[in-house]
Every structure is written in structure tokens, then in C-alpha cells.
């Protein structure tokens, strides 16, 4: 695929899924600690999400970095909006902001903060 086709393919994933996680490995088998942390948070919140394994395709791995203007993976999109990488997602989750964002976007979630 050309760069433009990759860009369009990524755009389609982002537009057609409420939540998309670009990650290393799959949600069943994350292959990076940072991707794994985001999976654990999404699983904890019990939301439906789509995962894209960037290790399957080098052009997607590079393409998503260009698409988001963000140099690292994982990357989380919610309703078409780039939310952040692992650190941002974890901080938002711990502060309850991620739960608020999901709720404000009408995405069903188990909105509880992390147990103390």
C-alpha cells in the first residue's frame, strides 16, 4: 500500500470504531509493557474496543506515527479523537478523566476509579 492508502486505512479504522487501540501485539497477547497497560485499563473499564497490531505491518507502524504526529505506540483513539499514549491514558484513568471522557461520548463503561 502507498503512504496515502495507509493513511486512509488508518483513518477508516479511527472513523468506524468508537475506540481503537494501535498497539504492539494484540489485546489477547500484548507484546509490549506499555501496550499491555492500556489493554488492562480498557479491560478494567469493560469497554468494547478494536485493536490494531502495528507489529503485523511495518507500514502501519510508521503510518500511525505520522497520522497522529506522535512518535510512539500505543496510541488510543476515542470517537475519532486522539487521546494519547500509555502515560496519558494511565494518568487520565487514575484521575477519573478517562471514565468521564467515555461517559461524555456515550460509551458504556464500568466507570469506577482504580481501587485504592
Amino acid at each position: 500500500m502507498s503512504e496515502q492508502e495507509i493513511h486512509d486505512w488508518i483513518g477508516k479504522q479511527v472513523a468506524s470504531n468508537d475506540i481503537v487501540l494501535f498497539m504492539k501485539g494484540s489485546k489477547q497477547f500484548p507484546q509490549c509493557g506499555f501496550s499491555s497497560q492500556v489493554v488492562q485499563i480498557l479491560e478494567y473499564l469493560d469497554v468494547d474496543y478494536s485493536d490494531v497490531n502495528v507489529l503485523d505491518d511495518m507500514s502501519v507502524r510508521e503510518g500511525v506515527k505520522a497520522y497522529s504526529n506522535w512518535p510512539t505506540v500505543p496510541q488510543l483513539y476515542i470517537k475519532g479523537e486522539f487521546v494519547g499514549g500509555c502515560d496519558i491514558i494511565r494518568e487520565m484513568f487514575q484521575d477519573g478523566e478517562l471514565q468521564q471522557l467515555l461517559t461524555s461520548k456515550d460509551i458504556k463503561n464500568n466507570a469506577q476509579t482504580m481501587p485504592a
Binding site: C32, G33, T72
Partner: protein, 88 residues
Amino acid sequence: MSVEQVIREKLNEAFTPERLEVVNESDKHAGHAGSPGTGTSHFRVTIVSEKFDGLSRIDRHRLVNEALAQELAGPVHALAMKTLSPGE
């Protein structure tokens, strides 16, 4: 200069931080998928700087990513970061 020193220098220059910590965590990730095993692939930084005042998390991280764009396009695969303004 080591990658760690370059990171430190660039962050000092970009943010004149009140506090700066740069930790090389590459050893912790040696051998996992996509890890190059170079010893300079994974870093954790903590930056406390007035430059972050009033900025969202994403905008803060984007500033750091920009300051280290060359390194992130090269040897550095992962950059964990904590970005705080002095009052936080």
C-alpha cells in the same frame, strides 16, 4: 556523548526545568518484541517546568516529543514521561 546525555541536554535547553530526571530503562525491556537490544531504546523522564503551565497532557507530551524528535526517530523506541508544572 551518550544518548542519555543528549536527552538530558536537549530537555534542559528546551524546558529549563526546575527538576529533570532521565532514567535509562532499556535493560528492563531487552529481548521483548521489537526491542533492538542496543541499551539505548527505552527511557523514562520526569520534567518539572514552567513551560507546561496551562497546557494539556497531550500538548506537554508533544513538546517533549518535538524536543527529542531526532532521538525518537533513531535509537529511542519508548519514552515514558511525567510532565508537571511547578505548582503540581
